[in-house]
Symmetry: C2
Subunit: 326 residues, 2 copies
Amino acid sequence: MKAGQLGEKKLVEMFVRNLFGSDMATIPAGLDDTAAVAHNGEELVLKTDVMFASTHFPAAMGFKAMGRKVAVANLSDIAAMGARPLALLMAFGVPPEMDAEDLEKVFFGINEACEEHRCPFVGGDTKKAKELTLAGMAVGACRKEELLLRSNAEVGDVVAVTGSIGNAACGMLILTKGLKLPAKLSGPLTDSFTRPVARIAEGRAIASTAPGSAGMDITDGLLYTASEISRASGVGMKLNSKKIPFTPEAKEFAKLQQHASPVRLLEYGEDYELVVCIRKNKFAKVKDAVEEAGGALAGIGEVIKEKRIYLDGEPVDTHGYDVILR
Amino acid sequence: MKAGQLGEKKLVEMFVRNLFGSDMATIPAGLDDTAAVAHNGEELVLKTDVMFASTHFPAAMGFKAMGRKVAVANLSDIAAMGARPLALLMAFGVPPEMDAEDLEKVFFGINEACEEHRCPFVGGDTKKAKELTLAGMAVGACRKEELLLRSNAEVGDVVAVTGSIGNAACGMLILTKGLKLPAKLSGPLTDSFTRPVARIAEGRAIASTAPGSAGMDITDGLLYTASEISRASGVGMKLNSKKIPFTPEAKEFAKLQQHASPVRLLEYGEDYELVVCIRKNKFAKVKDAVEEAGGALAGIGEVIKEKRIYLDGEPVDTHGYDVILR
């Protein structure tokens, strides 16, 4: 059998979760946005996310955006656990014929992300490789009871999402399919894809205000994220598309692409917003805390007992992205 | 300018050390075996070391050995700081046409290393790539005063090395040059190359018995390691080749390769032993502690004021390996 026929989840189930020390970790590999190990009264949350030029970066994406994206992808998982970032590392695979100035742009992108998210960059390995490779690793920390576990959702919780939805998916479609749109529209949309933000402040606000909430970041689409939280918690969700905070640009994009509604964008990822499930009686307080931290939080549905995802009353197929390695 | 013309040290100086947060770290990127950031009363030591199939693994090296090697390379740097390992992560780049069983062997190698070094494996990212890529990341912890900094060496210190020297270099030469040797000899030598060990117990024994000692692991040869510690500490060293703990196999190898002595092996790396500098009055106690931990420690020289490395009275050229990306 070829490795390419195995999905990442299959790999995690077959190998990664069986490796030494899973029982020594608070959260072993492959169960949540990050793993976690205890250290001196807190949990260290640990994440690695690697991207390869040939697979993960559209040709139209600049080098600075690549560096930024890998940094943010790693920091976003720290945010999704409710932790504060302690450090970011990056191992680089560099094709020898790559222009040194392009490599410098990659570093600028990483630096921009680290500065914005107040996360020190501390490492540091550079090797020769066949293609540009950026292997990020982020470390964060929080108290154990604050961890926003995927398995924390409870029936009756408010399902909520930070920020706004859809722009990054539109930006990805514009860049990968070469769609031609008015600059006024395509500018903000591609920006959202090339300059994503990790919701660190929002994650901390939620975790510290309502410990025991569930959380996961959106990298594979809102609906897939909702289904993953539901699966881990043994519950389902009723979502209301009218409450989903689509941006005006995403709505406009959907219209131009002849979709009556932007709902189809929920199947695309790259938003790096957080989907959280919060006890109903805490939601108002958490929303205030997130806004005080400079963010936004919108209730978009409710956790239900039946193990299905409904969108506007209709069951949703949330197959996700795990069919093949990508 | 092409990226391949920049050495890794140049890259670190130009970019990595200038990235955000260097001043927030106890040890920023590129200065020591690992970076370090404070967390709840201890230092977290953080390392990433990535290897690519096309560059770093001789064709004759098996898949299990590759997994083990990357795990050990990362753990060895934790050992070189005097820290205990908390967790290992690995991001995988997998060519889709790779045999799934070969990938399984990589996991077996990682598992073996984690089990032997009692380090939980906790992550966890697998992506499609042009060549097999193993990006390891290790996290460890110790008290700040225990850190075996490269800059800690003082004039009059005993220069010492753990374990034994030369086997891994011989093994590498056998595998990369296809040298034919009696199996009785080549077996143990290639084993040392394909199954290296990180000196975690030794590092902890040294750091806890003699805080303030200097240390670095040998990945680029003993002489280069000695010169790096010397440069960081603003000192030099007098080394005595007769005291270097060459194995009988390495001596035999040197004879068969028509070298009168195995000293030329000191220019090769891959031993993953630790070179340390210990206050003279502490050396006996530290040696006992290392032996109690199951290891060995041999004094091989002395730290001197003059900023040069002498081997048996002759100055040594320790250019090291930083000419090009590799």
